[in-house]
Every structure is written in C-alpha cells, then in structure tokens.
C-alpha cells in the first residue's frame, strides 16, 4: 500500500460515524439458507451491518447477492435463518412477520433501489407521485404535505424539480434511478438497499448517481447495503465488503483489506480480473 492509498484509507475511516464501533449492529442476519428446487441460492449466510455503515456485496452472477438483498427487503422468506433490525419495538425475527407487518416495516424502515427501475417505479405515474406513494403507505393524507415531502426527497436525490411531475417512462435511466432513490429515502429509512444501482448507466451518469449516494450517506449517515458486480462501485461506496460465491460468503473484510490483500482464492481472482 503506497502513501496515497494509506491516506485514502485513513480519510475513509475518519468518515465513519463515531458510534460505529460502540453500538450494536443495525442489521443482523444469521444462518440464512434458501433453496429453489435443487438450486442452492443461499447457504448459511450470516452478516451484520452497523449503523451508518455501507456494506458492499460482490460476487459473480448467480452467487446469491441479489437473493440476499431480497431477503433483507423481506420480499422472500428463507428456509432457515434469523433476521433482526435493531430498531425500537422490533425484537422479533423479521422472517416471522406476516405480509402486512412486512409491508409496513419496509415502507417505513427499509428503502430499496432496484437495478431495473420498472421493478421500483410506477412508470405511468408522475415522479412525485412515485415518491408520494411511499408516504401514502405510511399513512400521510395531506396533499400539501405529500407534495412538499416528495419535492424534498427528489431535491435530496438531485432530481431536477422542474420535472417532478414527469412520468418516469419519459426520463433517462439516470433520472429514473434518482426517482427510485428519492422514493427510497422519502421516509428516512433506517436501511437503504441498493441492487446494482448504476448498472446499465453510462460512466458519467454512474459517477453522478454515486456522488449523490455518497453525499446522502455522508449527510444523513444512512446505513446502506449495496450489491454490485462492479468492483469500482463497491470500492467507491463501501466501508466493508462481503464476497459471495455459490450462495456462500467466502470472504469478508474492510474494503481496502479485500482489495489490497484478498485472502480467498476466488476473491483474488475477482480482484485481479477487475484490475
């Protein structure tokens, strides 16, 4: 590691919230396994994410990283496993919640940005309406409040407010991702999940979206889990990295540790393939 990289690592550590080392994890996954027929999607996966931390999950296609993210978003239930969020009044295994409880929890505490905007947005509704939908699920019934909070969230996502009533189908891919992001952060969730948020965008738009994410993370100290097969994105965003292969976690560590000194053979291949 050269001096410049050491300084970069130090700067990154200074950005970590001070409570990172003293508070219990916000998210704890324990022994999560999931099979789809004969295919093992996840096998005994455990993970923790601390408040304000950005956890990156990398791995080849089919390694189980998106499945794991879907579990975190309570879109699926594993065969076995335990999932807890350290939030007031939530001491239970979240996989045991019913559909209604899951929906309410996800609306208030978990935001998600999908790789494909069609999964996260209503393409025929306005951009502000897409953000407002999340607020409506949480029970907001004032039109002016909906409008104001949607505007605020879109602004925080660096979405041009002059286009807040344009439909996502009329927007570029980068703009659609910003609307998704605004929708995800509208209720200031405890956890933000990002599933390949920049895949399919050109490099300049990728950089803008990543800048927005970094600023949000810095300003609001949002806890994030970001899934990507793009190691550059993970290196830019994450504090800690989890490497997955064939449904298992093969290596886990601080971002510099993983990229500078990978221990597992697969991680070495992955890092070197990128480099």
């Amino acid at each position: 590691m050269n001096m410049q990289e050491i300084q970069g690592a130090s700067a990154r550590l200074e950005l970590l919230p001070p409570q990172l080392m003293t508070t219990p994890p916000l998210l704890t996954l324990d022994g999560v396994s999931r099979r789809y027929g004969d295919v093992v999607a996840l096998s005994d996966v455990s993970a923790v994410v601390y408040p304000g931390e950005v956890l990156g999950i990398v791995g080849e296609s089919g390694s189980g990283k998106s499945t794991l993210l879907r579990m975190m978003n309570l879109e699926d239930t594993p065969d076995t496993g335990d999932y807890r969020l350290n939030l007031p009044g939530l001491s239970t295994n979240l996989f045991g919640l019913d559909r209604f409880e899951r929906r309410m929890l996800c609306a208030r505490q978990i935001g998600i940005v999908y790789q494909n905007p069609h999964l996260g947005l209503l393409m025929n509704h306005t951009s502000s309406g897409n953000v407002a939908e999340r607020l409506l699920i949480a029970g907001e019934r004032s039109f002016e409040a909906l409008r104001g909070r949607a505007r605020e969230a879109l602004d925080a996502s660096e979405f041009p407010l002059s286009r807040m009533d344009a439909r996502p189908m009329e927007l570029s891919g980068g703009m659609q991702q910003r609307v998704q992001l605004a929708k995800a952060i509208a209720l200031e969730p405890a956890l933000l999940l990002l599933d390949e948020p920049t895949t399919g965008l050109d490099v300049s738009v990728q950089a803008l979206v990543l800048d927005t994410l970094k600023r949000l993370q810095r300003d609001r100290a949002i806890t994030m889990v970001i899934v990507s097969h793009d190691l550059g994105v993970i290196r830019t965003m994450a504090d800690r990295v989890m490497v997955m292969r064939r449904g298992r976690v093969v290596e886990e560590g601080l971002v510099d540790q993983i990229f500078q000194d990978p221990q597992h053979e697969y991680t070495q291949q992955l890092v070197h393939a990128k480099l």
Binding site: F100, L122, S128, G129, L136, I137, S142, A145
Partner: protein
Amino acid sequence: MTLASLTKPWEAFSYGFLDASAKREIRRKMLKAIAVPGCQMPYASREVPIARGWGTGGLQVTLTLIRPDTSVKVIDQGADDSVNAASIRRFLARVSGARETLDTLDATILQSRHRIPEEKLGPDQILVLQVPNPEPLRPVEPNMSVARQMHGDADYSRLWLTLYEQIVRSGRIMQGAAYPSLVNGRHVMTPSPIPRWDVPKLHMAQHLTFLSAGREKRLYAVPPFTRVEPLVFSDVPYKVEDHAGLTCHRSGVKGYFMNEIPQDDGTSAHELSDSHFGVKAIRRAEGEAVATGETWYQNGEFRP
C-alpha cells in the same frame, strides 16, 4: 301417505323466479356482506331473463328479498320510465305478486341503476344498487388475487395515489361516478357508478343498501348507520357536482341533481334526475296534495 302428497304441486317457475338453492346462496352471502360492511362477497350468480350487465346482480338480490307484500320501485339513472327500469319492475311484480310503485316513500325495495333517490330512505326500506364493476382496485391492480390481498391488508395507497395524480395533473379530483369510499373504516368499496352527489347519502343512512354485480358475481352491503367516507385528502375537501344553482325546466325545482339536456341553440336545459320526485313537484305546483319526503339535500346543501 304418499310421496306425492308431501310435495307441492308442480309450477312452471319458483316463487320469485329463482330456485330455493339460488336464493339460499344469495341470502347467505347477503348476511355475510352485512356482517362485514363493504367487503365483497363472491356468489354463484344465476341466469336471469335479462342480459349480463343490465342489472342481473341487483335483480337477483331483489328476487331473493321480494315478498308478496313488497312494493317495488326500479329506477334507471333516476328515471322510473326507462325501458330497462320498466321491464325489471314488471318482471319483479309478475314473478312475485309484489306491488309496483314509482314513489320512493311507498317502496320497500328500491332497485336502482346509478342513482339514489332525492328523498331520504327510512329504516324499513332496502336499496339495491346495480354494480357493473365491484372492484375499486381494478383500475390500479388488474390481478384479482393481488387486489384481494390488498383489501386484506387495507392497502389502498394506490387509490390515494390515483387521487393525488388527478390533482397534480388537473388541479382537482376528476373522479366523477363510482367514487371510492371507505366503509366502516375498513374496506374501500365502489359505491356503483352513482354520482358524487349521492355518495354522502350512504353515510350513516337509516336504510340497508345492497350492491350487487351479477356479471362479476360479487355483492357487498352498507348496513344501516354505517360510516361511508369518500377518500379525501385532509386539505382537499370532498366536492359534489355543482348543481345547487340549476333549476329543473319542467318542475321549476332547484337544488337537486339534474340531467343536462342539450338544446338546439347550443345551450342546455336541466331537469331533475329523480324523475318521480320531479313529477311530485309538478303535481304539487298544480295544487295537488302530494306527500313529499324529507330530502337529503336542501337548496343544494347536503343535510345529514
């Protein structure tokens, strides 16, 4: 004793046209619908001698409820004398021996397509509304299984979103008929395509309302004294059609829901949508002693 002596003489039709098992099926679902206000109950919709979509749902409920001492009124968009209303009314009388009436105050069962009469209904009256599409979530969720889950979860955010979008795009809520309404604080129903003018009439009403869709095979109910609240934002009040200032060109009555009649010169005349209420007003104006009930609206203002 023989088996023949225990059975009734053969008749061409069952009383009230529907056979006993069909009526039992519908009665069970009606009781369920009353028990869970606003919740759609599926039922085995039978063939009746009118086409699907022409009031078969309402007709089956009325045929199940009807008795020889019933007086039945049928209205079609407010009119007693449309072909459809007259045919259904005559059919009901023919198969049950019930008395036909045009007077809202006189009727014990009122079957209606898309209107609620202007005169208040009492506790001994039953309103049967014909419903073309009973699912309020259909425009936002075409998958019926998912829509059912959404009802189960009281997840009506998409309906609210539709209203939000209407205000954003048009500056006001554009939903005219079939305004989605929350029943008893739990289920959102479509109150059939009645105008917004009529929706407040269902709120805490004394009468029992059945809403039935024969083609879609679903019925639901608003029992007496049940809350029916149209979905409205806290800062955007519910508005009914602006008919308060319109005058009926036939009866001279003002302040009720009107039908617009285009004139040759490009202007519009208006006449009372509730046709028999208009007839009463004309008779009263001619000096005839006509009993008129208390109305939901007075001078265009709703008075509960």
